[in-house]
């Protein structure tokens, strides 16, 4: 390997209005290296990568590729320099096949030699272990398959420098493993890979080098072997952090929720939930683990009355709530928040301001024809302070805020409603470490108040540490309910893939 770094970014500065997103950032990446960028939301990771891929133009600073200075004024220039960016949100055409997606926007002649393209694709997929069905349409693909297609697309365009922006946010452990395999294979072939992630374990597993960014500045670049998660977390946040999650002890009393033999079918008549039975006690956190689309969403929607029940009973504080509509269920004190993969989706209205969004859940409880906005206004100010939401004001449309801040607004609203049963699906999806812990603390506070919590999560470490019991589902079926203190990741992982728990229920 040459001594000149493959990519070198020097003194990069980028200012948006009053916000300094990148301040004099230096980054060096060698070929055959997986280099992680760590940093909290707003630390400048995405800005830096958008500069590298030609989407933003830096105010100051220069980029060198193999020692030669380059200037990018458009993404096209970056592609020509063999930089391939994989965005957090996929840039694929849903109705097209893999092959068509790869060919779109290619400079070919008038006629397209499909067979040659297919041959090239197969060659590339063999080289990097990228298995893709060229004739499959994107809307039929899982998230993992889409990711692989995205990589194949940029590789086909000749990329040898790959930028992955939070690629594993919505992945199952299996999909992540597969992605890591591909990344390692590409590394062996001499590619340089830049990996952006919030997940400390992943960063520790895959990286060769780690650069920590904080508030738009490079803090340090470390060799993985010389560091540990605790040190990295402290470097990211800028002060010592405690990485353990407290499990608050609460005397479990009566059941808040009791679900018996719940069966739910979707619009096409396919069974989505198969005879689920479980309970949640007051002051208990029940975790729920499972591969994406194992019925989590259906369960959430059913409990809140958005989805009809086929069979079974749901008792909330001893009262059967099957057949009640959403409005009645919310009034009874059940709160549900589901952070979808695109993070905005359900539960918030992007073009409305914070006040209007905070009213969404409780305006029906107000009497009369008119809406009183005053409580929502004072709550907005409270939530901004409590959750450190960065916004120009309470009347600012929330869609212009960053993903993390939008999410905080949603969670803040659900917590402020003082529910008796709190259902949270993926509440920390894509949030930085500091905010994650704020949220865990908030959930624990609710628990201490005697609220029953259903916590649907992806991070098994968190589930084990935070929850009193962990329920695992697979294909709409409960494969096991484990005690949080005794559960292991391996065991949950097995249950997630359908190996039933032969042991007694915890």
């Amino acid at each position: 390997m040459s001594t000149v770094p493959h990519i070198s970014m020097k003194g990069i500065t980028k200012v948006f209005g009053k916000v300094v997103a990148n301040n004099n950032i230096n980054l060096e990446i060698n070929s055959g290296e997986i280099h992680s960028l760590l940093g909290e939301n707003g630390a400048g990771k995405s800005t830096l990568m958008n500069i590298l891929s030609g989407i933003y133009i830096p105010d100051r600073g220069s980029i060198f590729i193999s020692g030669k200075e380059v200037t990018f004024s458009a993404p096209k220039d970056a592609i020509n320099a063999k930089i391939g960016m994989i965005h957090q949100h996929f840039k694929l055409v849903e109705v097209m096949t893999s092959l068509e997606n790869i060919m779109v926007g290619q400079k070919t002649g008038f006629l397209i030699n499909k067979n040659k393209v297919i041959k090239d694709i197969i060659e590339l997929s063999d080289m990097y272990g990228l298995e893709v069905d060229v004739n499959k349409r994107v809307y039929d693909m899982s998230v993992g398959e889409k990711q692989i297609l995205e990589i194949l697309k940029v590789v086909y365009r000749g990329a040898t420098i790959l930028v992955l922006d939070e690629p594993t946010t919505v992945f199952t452990p299996q999909e992540t493993k597969k992605l890591f395999k591909i990344m390692n294979k590409m590394k062996e072939q001499g590619c340089a890979i830049i990996f952006i992630s919030h997940k400390m374990e992943e960063v520790m597993e895959i990286s060769d080098k780690i650069t920590v960014l904080r508030k738009g500045e490079t803090i340090v670049t470390l060799d993985k072997r010389d560091t540990n998660p605790k040190e990295l977390a402290e470097l990211m946040v800028g002060h010592p952090v405690d990485l353990s999650i407290k499990r608050v002890k609460v005397e479990r009393t009566e059941n808040v929720l009791e679900v018996k033999n719940l069966k739910v079918v979707d619009e096409e008549g396919i069974e989505r939930l198969k005879k689920l039975s479980f309970t949640i006690g007051a002051g208990e956190i029940l975790g729920m683990a499972g591969i994406v689309n194992s019925g989590q969403k259906e369960l959430c929607e059913t409990l809140i009355g958005m989805h009809p029940v086929k069979e079974g009973e749901i008792y909330f504080q001893g009262e059967d709530i099957v057949g009640k509509n959403t409005r009645e269920i919310i009034k009874k004190g059940i709160s549900m928040s589901f952070i979808p993969e695109d993070r905005l989706g359900m539960g918030l209205v992007g073009s409305m301001d914070m006040v209007d969004n905070l009213m969404l859940k409780e305006y029906q409880c107000q009497k009369g024809l008119f809406i009183d906005k005053k409580p929502a206004i004072s709550r907005a100010i409270e939530i901004i302070e409590q959750l450190e939401i960065k916004t120009p004001g309470i009347y600012y449309p929330i869609k212009n805020l960053s993903g993390g801040n939008i999410q905080k607004i949603l969670l803040g609203r659900e917590l402020a409603a003082n529910p008796k049963l709190l259902i949270m699906a993926y509440p920390v999806r894509g949030l930085d470490i500091n905010t994650c812990y704020t949220i865990y603390d908030l959930i624990n506070q609710q628990k201490a108040k005697g609220v029953g919590v259903l916590f649907i999560g992806e991070d098994l470490d968190v589930l084990i540490q935070l929850c009193d019991r962990v329920m695992v589902i697979c294909g709409g079926e409960i494969t096991g309910i484990l005690k949080g203190e005794n559960a292991t990741k391996e065991e949950i992982g097995l249950l997630m893939t359908g190996h039933k728990n032969e042991l007694q229920e915890a």
């Binding site: 933003y56 409305m352 969404l360 305006y363 107000q366 024809l369």
Partner: protein, 352 residues
């Protein structure tokens, strides 16, 4: 190379000045046409202004044009807020006029206040039922409301024409295909020499403003428009909300039909709507679906029409010219939206 940068936030004053500037720019560009016609554009614009607001008579005429535009635009705004693209105001106006006229013609001797009240209710019901049809189609079968409402305009027009030539043809009109004139009992009284529709308009602006901003239903309509899933999630009764907003939207348009038939044409003719239903769409958009702004925009549009017909007679400029000017203004105002969202910078490397 100049670059466009997304603005973070823009003050109300600045966005208003950009819009006003765009109107001035439209007038400026259009002066080229007048110059080619060897007329002094400044003179023409001045006399347009005079034609619209120059005398108490012209002000009254402008207001008469503004009334239907304003009320219909309010109705359209309610549907648009829910992202229900109601292009059918024209038809709803006609059906409202039709329903009101049935009573005006059937009970010509009924005392004035009760007859007018019945006509108003009939007009509102006529318009709202006409609007309900595409709404039900959409709710049940997912049809495209833009196309259905648009097509139903033609059904309504032809229905009125059929009535003129057939069942409601006035036998005393010497073979001329028209519907009999209303009796005085069926004609709206005047206040300050303008039929009382202007009072309705002002009251309705207030009503819609409060309805959309401070009532639960208004809030639900806005949420539903943005995201059906979110509305469902927060417990909004979706079907009920759709029906309320469409009945309100069509009802307001139907009321316009009644006002126009009773206050302007004094009978039922197909020109009762006269394109108001389409112009009102533009008014609703330019008014940002906000009731007070719609009031202002409808007066400006009425002035443009009134001024346009004035220069037609005094300068011999074809009426089409005024229409082009209208569309030119619309074009420029819509174009100005870009500059409200983005600013231009010459500085290299400031792009987003």
């Amino acid at each position: 190379m100049p670059r466009f940068i997304k603005r973070d936030e823009i003050s109300k004053g600045r966005s208003t000045s950009i819009r006003i500037f765009s109107v001035i720019l439209a007038l400026f560009v259009f002066s080229i046409v007048f110059i080619l016609m060897q007329k002094n554009p400044l003179d023409i614009y001045a006399s347009m202004l005079k034609g619209a607001f120059g005398s108490s008579y012209s002000i009254r005429e402008t207001i008469k044009l503004a009334i239907p535009l304003c009320i219909a635009a309010l109705g359209i705004a309610v549907a648009f807020k829910m992202h229900f693209w109601n292009i059918g105001a024209e038809g709803q106006i006609l059906m409202g006029a039709f329903a009101a006229s049935v009573f005006a013609l059937k009970f010509p001797e009924m005392p004035r206040p009760s007859l007018l009240l019945i006509m108003m209710v009939a007009g509102i019901i006529g318009g709202s039922l006409w609007a309900l049809i595409p709404a039900v189609f959409k709710a049940k079968w997912g049809t495209n409301e833009t196309i259905v409402t648009l097509m139903m305009n033609y059904v309504a027009i032809k229905w009125i024409v059929f009535l003129q030539h057939g069942p409601l043809k006035d036998p005393n009109a010497k073979g001329f295909a028209k519907i009999a004139n209303f009796t005085d009992n069926a004609i709206l009284p005047e206040i300050f020499k303008v039929h009382i529709g202007w009072i309705f308009a002002i009251l309705l602006v207030l009503f819609i403003f409060i309805f959309m901003k401070y009532t639960k239903t208004g809030y639900e309509i806005a949420v539903l428009g943005e995201s059906e899933k979110t509305a469902l999630y927060s417990g909004v009764n979706i079907k009920k909300t759709i029906i309320i907003s469409i009945l309100l939207s069509g009802g307001l348009c139907g009321l316009v039909g009644m006002i126009q038939a009773s206050g302007i044409s004094n009978t039922l003719v197909e020109s009762v709507s006269g394109g108001v239903g389409y112009t009102a769409i533009i008014v609703a958009w330019l008014g940002y679906l906000s009731a007070p702004v719609i009031l202002i925009v409808s007066i400006l549009f009425a002035a443009l029409q009134q001024g346009g017909s004035f220069i037609q007679t005094s300068y011999g400029i074809p009426g089409a010219a005024a229409l082009i000017l209208q569309s030119m203004i619309l074009f420029f105002v819509l174009g100005s939206e870009f500059f409200i969202r983005f600013k231009i910078s010459k500085k290299e490397g400031d792009a987003k």
